[in-house]
């Protein structure tokens, strides 16, 4: 198992932390990179579950549940987002519990499909429960991220893009740390053992279902957190928006694109693809940007083929 050399990673993090101080007026870049951090957090959340060998296609469910739970708490009780966001993410965990119970026996492609189908459940319920969630109309006018006082300094997280960027960067780095800790710990070895060969792992006394479930719960909480943040940054939620399939596919794309370095893979993927698309492709090619995006993906896979090979079990299974 290869670990990223500390130097490039440290240099990268330093760059991410320092650049807003060099270009303080680049609000549009702060916006884009802030959202990049958010998506990178989602990808890292997905990654955590993928460590067990499970390729989930339903993480948008956790994202959406976190977003909606936070939105509903904010809308009905007017609690501050600083409270509703961490609480809202718990809704995702509740759903993950049902997941873990229901999908115990599923592996591989079937698990992926089940996760895809499972996305429909919260989506349709939220969409149809008009009285509570306002159904297809969604909820608008959510509170922005509030001002916080940090050691005498008043920081407006909602309005000040720079502050928002640092918040999102911080959360992403926390997710990175979480992933690093999970991988390098004894628990991380357990997860890898489950991924490589479940039968052998069982023989070693590892309760694979229980460990899988733990990874899933952690993963779902992070994804829910990302969703809740998204809701309060945009100020609105809508079923079609936060339970969207592209949010399920996004982590997959970032992780495969980003490379085999397990923790930094999703981060790399997010930081290459999203700003590229938003800052270069969309302005330069208003009409043909997705063709260029598609070409970039195809060419990159051919020249840099190391995907998340390490995540998949080596022994070919029937699925």
């Amino acid at each position: 198992m290869r670990f990223p050399k500390p130097l490039p990673a440290a240099a990268g993090v330093l760059l991410l932390v320092l650049w807003p101080l060099i270009f303080p007026d680049a609000a549009h870049i702060q916006q884009v990179l802030g959202i990049t951090c958010l998506y990178a957090t989602l990808a890292l959340a997905w990654n955590l579950y993928a460590l067990t060998g499970a390729i989930s296609l339903g993480h948008a469910a956790f994202f959406g549940l976190g977003a909606y739970a936070s939105a509903l708490l904010n809308h009905y009780y007017h609690w501050s987002p600083l409270l509703t966001i961490p609480l809202g993410a718990l809704a995702a965990v509740v759903f993950a519990v049902f997941w873990a119970m229901g999908f115990r026996r599923l592996r591989g492609v079937y698990l992926g499909l089940a996760s895809l189908a499972a996305l429909e459940i919260p989506k349709t319920i939220v969409d149809n429960w008009d009285r509570f969630t306002y159904g297809s109309m969604g909820i608008m006018g959510l509170d922005r991220l509030p001002s916080a006082t940090l050691g005498g300094l008043q920081v407006d997280l909602g309005m000040d893009l720079q502050a928002q960027y640092y918040l999102l960067l911080g959360i992403m780095l926390l997710a990175v740390l979480l992933n690093l800790k999970s991988i390098r710990s004894r628990w991380g070895w357990t997860l890898r053992a489950i991924r490589e060969n479940e039968t052998a792992a069982a023989a070693l006394g590892i309760a694979s279902n229980r460990e899988r479930a733990k990874a899933l719960l952690l993963s779902s909480y992070l994804a829910g957190l990302a969703g809740a943040l998204y809701a309060h940054i945009l100020g609105l939620v809508e079923p079609g928006l936060v339970f969207n399939l592209h949010l399920s596919v996004l982590p997959l794309v970032f992780c495969i694109f980003g490379g085999s370095t397990k923790v930094w893979g999703p981060v790399l993927g997010a930081f290459i693809l999203y700003p590229l698309e938003q800052l270069c492709l969309l302005p330069l090619f208003p009409m043909g940007h997705s063709a260029v995006y598609g070409l970039v993906i195809i060419l990159t896979i051919f020249f840099f083929p190391q995907g998340i090979a390490a995540w998949l079990p080596r022994a070919p299974k029937s699925a």
Binding site: R2, P4, K5, P8, A9, A11, G12, L15, W19, F23, D25, A26, A27, H28, I29, Q31, V32, I35, D127, N128, G135, S136, M137, G138, M140, G141, M159, Y230, L234, G235, L236, E238, P239, G240, L241, H246, G259, S260, T261, W264, L268, F271, I272, P275, L276, Q278, L279, C280, L282, P283, P286, M287, H289, S290, F304, P305, Q306
Partner: protein, 404 residues
């Protein structure tokens, strides 16, 4: 198959440098001049591409029309178009980019309310006027946002529709099918409430997710509920299928009416005979224009046809109208010799009163259009005939044709 060794080190380093270079490049302003720049954000790709492209063409035409006349008070106008991919975070990113890098004097466009909302908030925050082309929902203009204006609103569709159903069609029981989008859902709620006030019962109401190709099972339920009229809150593609399936199995309905997607010549061409007698609603169409703007409308159609090779339609006109509003406001400000700041242009927009082909454009205190009213049309002999309101009618309702 070669197994290429992975070397995260150099690749990661390369990425970091690339990202840094990208950041530096992305921070450069786009070239300035004495030109005026307008930013446009629309769904140019994806499922809503048809509508987004039409709005885009309308806006583009308005800009080129202005440039052909020498620009806005002598300044050439440049349009910067961006695709929002129907995602709000992308819309916000592009709005920011247009404001900071593009240094646009105003924003225009928008097809979906969940994108218009976030963009309008950026507009307010950075004090840039935004004229939305196709926003409908009521909640937006609740808070006073002095920088947000829109050329359309749901009331302008719901009111004529319900009046037509009650006064002209004189129907008592309707079935309502609408798409599971915020705009269509709000439309459905408003229509039901309005019809209820007029003693018309909504006996069947269903919501479907757009993209579904088969309404035949839903249509089975309509006669069972003894509905007389079917209202479709679906979009162009959905109506294509509904109309075709209605033809296959007639339900004994008095009428089929769809505010979105029917009142287009291209729709008539696509469905052919099956479209005869259908009711739709539109704000404008070639030949259906605000009284007093006939000449302008004809010139517009001719010019548009010459440039794009096809006729403009009501969606195109929404884009055109919103662009015209912004251009007129800019003209006013520049002619006074003032700088086109956000506040100045927004003030000019608030005082606007233009007689355009689509509507008499004036905004109220909330940024809503004061005089936006769609007309109800019926497809007769492959043409759109206005049947309501009476003062704009160009023909009579053909009840026998309307029956499905």
């Amino acid at each position: 198959m070669q197994r290429i060794r992975s070397r995260p080190g150099p690749r990661a380093r390369l990425t970091v440098w690339l990202l840094a270079a990208l950041l530096c490049w992305a921070n450069q302003p786009l070239s300035a001049a004495q030109e005026i720049r307008l930013g446009e954000i629309d769904p140019l790709s994806g499922p809503l591409a048809k509508h987004g492209q039409e709005i885009h063409q309308g806006i583009l035409y308005a800009v080129e029309e202005a440039n052909a006349r020498g620009g806005v008070a002598g300044h050439p106008v440049k349009l910067l178009s961006r695709d929002d991919q129907s995602k709000p975070d992308v819309a916000v990113n592009q709005a920011q980019d247009l404001i900071f890098r593009g240094k646009v004097a105003g924003l225009v466009g928008g097809y979906v309310d969940s994108l218009v909302g976030p963009i309008s908030q950026q507009a307010a925050r950075h004090r840039v006027p935004y004229v939305a082309s196709a926003s409908l929902q009521q909640a937006f203009t609740g808070n006073k946002n002095p920088f947000f204006f829109r050329v359309s609103c749901l009331e302008g569709i719901v009111q004529p529709l319900c009046q037509f159903l009650s006064q002209t069609l004189k129907t008592k029981r309707v079935a309502l099918l609408h798409a599971a989008t915020p705009g269509a859902t709000e439309f459905s709620d408003l229509v039901q409430a309005d019809l209820h006030r007029r003693d018309i019962a909504t006996v069947l109401q269903e919501k479907f997710r757009p993209g579904w190709p088969d309404f035949s099972v839903f249509l089975l339920k309509v006669p069972a509920a003894r509905a007389e009229t079917l209202i479709s809150g679906g979009f162009y593609g959905d109506n294509l299928i509904l109309v075709r399936q209605l033809r296959q199995r007639p339900l004994g309905l008095k009428a089929f009416i769809a505010p979105w997607g029917v009142a287009y010549q291209s729709f008539i061409d696509e469905v052919g005979q099956a479209g005869e007698g259908l009711f739709g609603a539109c704000a404008w169409s070639p030949g259906i224009t605000q009284p007093g703007t006939e000449k302008e409308s004809q010139e517009l159609v001719a010019g548009f046809r010459k440039k794009f090779g096809k006729d403009p339609n009501t969606t195109t006109m929404h884009g055109y109208t919103s662009a015209r509003a912004l251009l007129a406001a800019l003209e006013t400000v520049l002619q006074e010799g003032a700088k086109p700041t956000g506040e100045a242009v927004s003030r000019a927009l608030a005082k606007l009163d233009l007689n355009l082909p689509m509507e008499r454009l004036a905004f109220d205190a909330h940024g809503d259009p004061r005089h936006y009213q769609q007309v109800i049309v019926q497809i007769q002999k492959q043409r759109l005939v206005v049947v309501y309101p009476p003062e704009r009618a160009t023909g009579q309702v053909d009840f026998s044709l309307a029956a499905r």
